[in-house]
Symmetry: C2
Subunit: 631 residues, 2 copies
């Protein structure tokens, strides 16, 4: 079912149960009302000030008594004709002005002498000057701020009627779910979706909580849904990703009530179920967190506003230029997480990973790009409209690093973020050659590169001359680092080098084409006279050192080329092959950019940076920050 | 002391006690960490997925076994060569691809037949595909969102270190303070400031609460401050407005610690005290709520950010044009509350009242205008930069009504605000002639007017022809209403009309020049042959019907001209003088404005509107919504 049709059907079903404006009213203390929404206009209970009040320290007088007062002939007032008052004191009813103490001349017998006439009500805050009793203070449908509480309390209003937010519960389902804090066995999945989902619902204005997971048992699921529907305004089922769980949910919902929509042509999020059980909306979300969140944004967020009859927040859009193409699946509305970078004049948009399970794509994502049904995608260089997920000012303080990954980039990212200017690094790991291409296309502020020129034995420079001709840039060393074979702890297969991988038919894992490590692997293989097809797993490519190491730690492969830091991080062993140079390519147009300057300042002068890198191991910073080449 | 100097001295004093970045770290559960700020980078505890996982329902295979598969010669796999998997199931280590169930042909003996080759790792989410163990997930100084919680929980991180917000307490002082819910006697003031102030501090990121008021007793105040300083990171003293209270605070602070600043050249807010007691900052705020809030914005808001080492929110500025002049007090930085209205192309700024006690000026205020030391103010028509206090989109959905006040405007304001489009009415009560002038200057969308032409006996039209010549507009009737003398309940002075006011020398209260009611008063006086100086209080002017009524209810005057609705609202009696016509003047350029259309729709068709007006009493809606005149 297309998205717009699913939305229409769902709205019709919600209308039938009068879901819109269904929020209950509740009477609460004004003191507890911060952020709540009024359900009735609030009128002042009494005036403020509630009496005429002195606005200065001095004496209260009757202004007419002073009509003739002047320096030449001051007026003398008897004790009965005035009263001493301080700021804030109520003015006795018979007086209609206050004379400042500075202008009062004390004489004998408790009398005073005044040399200036008074105007009516001078230095008096008259009754109701600020708020008059019965005046409208706060209209219906207003969100209470601290100052509104003050205005109400000041005029004797102590309780008001406000809307209750919809109660929602997120029920995770699936026997494979385990609680956070447990280490998952194969096939087990840590249940954290309900917490994320409830977090978003609360952020959007609901009162939501996560329930304990329900296992793949039809009766238990029936009971859980029936109970939840009785106690909540909306029930969210977060199905596990396994087939069994998915089937139970739709079957149970069809038995308990009416399934309005099952399956929507969106990606991610296709298997969404929208149902009504006992006049309560029940939303079955897909199991993958990213699908679940995006589906909830599409179908549940507006429900909260409708329930409370409040205007939804306007989504923030911005225009960006695609740094690389993104292709759309046929026949669905597709929602692509995008990272943004202000690189020179252009706001560049880069897809942050399309997988439904890719939590990090949403952690790192700055914006959402919608590719509607019928769209083939967006081409490189194309201008697109994207919905911002974080403020544009955050995006503008983001340093875009595209290229080869190194753990030092994480260290720098953290040190920059915690600094006063809170610069973020958005780093895309596409290998050294990918970084050079990103610099060429103007997508990145900097690229990390360790490309070995087999002929000269030199790093990076010949590639820059070939691919970045005419682009003024500096090549600055970040570090030297050890490359080698990452192997299991204790090196149980006694691997000594790539020759063993071929001769013993070991399970190898490779880096992608264009990666500096791949060049080093290929060169070493050629030097050893080994052809790629002799390597089992040569075609199994991963994009970062850490992914290589993780596969070895997990036992799914025996070895792969990578850096010592990655082996150390996962407590693996390491067979050194070479030390290589890792440099940063920075176009000259960004050398005065405050973000690049902050980065170079860290590299040059931060003791914390040096200490953290030393702790990682396998690095030498002997040339760090030095200019290697410029053009 | 000038503001900038006071700020410098205060910053120096805070530096001496190392207040900046003083936030404590605390270890909390990730599940409780929403909105908290990390104090250390967070690295993935394990990878996600933690194992290779099937991304489809089907069978796990070894891709190499299917290399030769084709329609012509399908490959047959024995039970040992594959394993049935559902989406989300872990892949046994020996397999490296998944074939979708749709492509699997079941044959006998539990064997399967496949006609398509597989690529390595197809339909498999490989280990660490989303997050690799030890990878940086969240940098230091990051504010936790729901998705960040998800990413941490997904990788086995269950506790993190976050910053603690500064603890703050607001201590109200003054024997005149009483608790909300009590009716104030003369001289008593309801204590609500501490609640408003703590509300703002919490909004700005502190953990703040209000304390019980301390009476004007030096020892009690000493004890309260000493205790509070020991238990909090910042202590706020909200002095009562009376001289005694103010003096105690500064004396006590000087005895307990060091007074850094006492008195700053700002308006409102002059008497602020900034002190350090036992290495704890203590801020003495003025007693008036508006002064207190504005002073807190100047001196305390940044302290919260400094304490937690976070980037302050950028203030939002906008350009507006002054609708009328505002004059600045000499020698101070002055902060003027401004209401804004998007009237045609122009964003018009109108001062919302300058009094320090004017809570409603901040309730209604859309923005703050700063008039720096040395500035003489801002002239009518001058462009000014103002700091927004509410989103510009709210301002743009505001209908600006300037002119004569009528309670029906409050009714309309409430009905419009609660509607789907949430239109606000910003209504300035400046009398009918003030409204006509506002229309002439292009400041208002509409003006309420009831100006009597003594010669013709007609309302409004002759004034429009004279003062709004050449401006295309419509004059639309809102209501007819009774005008008369508002008198005390039971009319104890047996007032029958204005002749009694003169002959019995009663205490009268008048409306301001230009008000329709003032014209009616003047005409009646002339008709009766009474001169203004025969009326006691002729010069005591108020700006709304409700202010007139409030003064009578309070007993400070005996009578004043006004409308029945105002008398009814405060349970007063009413001596009719005449029925008058109250119209709305609307320039034609706004007739297509969605806000004006919504207003006219209400007037024409809303049963709720008619019911509420009937309930007020004294109105006739017989011509309501009818076009009276146009040009």
């Amino acid at each position: 079912m297309p998205l717009h049709k699913a939305k229409d059907k769902w709205h019709a079903a919600l209308k039938k149960i009068n879901f819109s404006k269904a929020a209950r009213h509740t009477e609460i203390e004004v003191e507890e009302a911060l952020g709540r929404i009024t359900t009735a206009p609030v009128f002042a209970g009494h005036s403020s000030p509630s009496h005429n009040v002195a606005a200065m320290d001095g004496i209260a007088v009757h202004f007419a008594d002073l009509a003739s007062a002047s320096d030449a002939s001051p007026v003398r007032l008897t004790e009965k004709q005035f009263k001493a008052v301080n700021t804030g004191n109520a003015l006795p009813l018979e007086f209609d002005a206050v004379v400042m103490i500075e202008d009062v001349h004390q004489v004998d017998n408790g009398e005073v002498e005044l040399a200036i006439p008074a105007t009516p009500w001078q230095h008096v805050r008259t009754i109701g000057e600020d708020i008059v009793a019965t005046e409208l203070i706060i209209p219906e449908g207003h969100t209470i701020r601290p100052i509104d509480q003050g205005a109400m309390l000041a005029t004797g209003v102590t309780t008001i009627s406000v809307k209750e937010a919809p109660r929602m519960v997120v029920i995770p389902t699936g026997s494979e779910l385990i609680q956070p804090g447990t280490t998952p066995e194969p096939g087990q999945i840590i249940e954290f979706n309900s917490r994320i989902l409830a977090g978003y619902l609360n952020e959007w204005g609901a009162v939501a909580s996560g329930a304990f997971p329900v296992s793949d048992d039809k009766e238990k699921l029936q009971e859980a849904i029936t109970d939840a529907a009785a106690e909540n305004d909306v029930v969210i089922i977060n199905a596990g990703a396994s087939a069994g769980t998915r089937d139970y949910t739709s079957t149970v919902l069809a038995e308990l009530g009416e399934v309005v929509v099952h399956g929507v042509a969106i990606k991610p999020g296709k298997p969404v179920i929208l149902a009504i059980v006992d006049d309560t909306p029940v939303v079955g979300l897909p199991g993958y967190p990213v699908s679940a969140i995006l589906t909830m944004r599409l179908f549940v967020r507006d429900m909260i506003n409708d329930f409370m009859d409040i205007k939804p927040m306007e989504p923030q859009w911005t225009t960006a230029r695609m740094s690389r193409p993104v292709h759309s699946a046929m026949g669905v509305d597709e929602f692509v997480r995008i990272t943004l970078g202000q690189v020179g004049e252009e706001l560049m948009a880069t897809p942050a990973g399309k997988g439904a399970g890719a939590v990090m794509s949403l952690v790192r994502g700055d914006a959402l790009l919608t590719l509607p049904v019928g769209s083939e995608g967006a081409g490189a260089g194309e201008e697109v409209q994207v919905e911002l997920l974080r403020p544009l000012s955050d995006v503008q303080s983001t340093l875009v690093a595209i290229g080869s990954h190194d753990n030092i980039i994480d260290v720098l990212a953290n040190l920059l973020h915690k600094g006063q200017q809170t610069i973020r690094i958005s780093s895309a790991h596409v290998g050294s050659m990918g970084g050079i291409m990103a610099i060429k296309r103007g997508e990145a502020h900097l690229a990390g590169s360790h490309l070995l020129d087999e002929e000269s034995g030199e790093y990076n420079i010949s590639f820059i001359k070939r691919f970045l001709k005419g682009i003024p840039l500096q090549l600055i060393n970040l570090c030297y680092r050890q490359q080698g074979l990452i192997v299991a702890k204790g090196n149980p297969l006694h691997i000594t080098g790539l020759n063993d991988v071929a001769s013993k038919n070991l399970r190898f894992i490779n880096r992608q084409n264009g990666a500096g490590t791949r060049l080093l692997t290929d060169k070493t293989l050629r030097d050893l006279g080994i052809t790629p097809d002799a390597i089992n797993g040569y075609d199994h490519e991963e994009y970062t050192h850490m992914s290589i190491a993780a596969s070895i730690a997990n036992g799914s492969v025996d070895c792969g080329m990578g850096i010592l830091a990655a082996a150390n991080a996962l407590n693996l062993d390491f067979v050194p092959v070479a030390e290589e140079r890792y440099d940063l390519i920075i176009p000259k147009q960004f050398m005065e950019d405050i973000k690049i300057m902050a980065l170079l300042e860290l590299i040059h002068n931060s003791i914390e940076f040096k200490t953290l890198v030393d702790r990682l191991g396998g690095y030498s910073l002997r040339d760090s920050g030095n200019l290697i080449y410029e053009q």
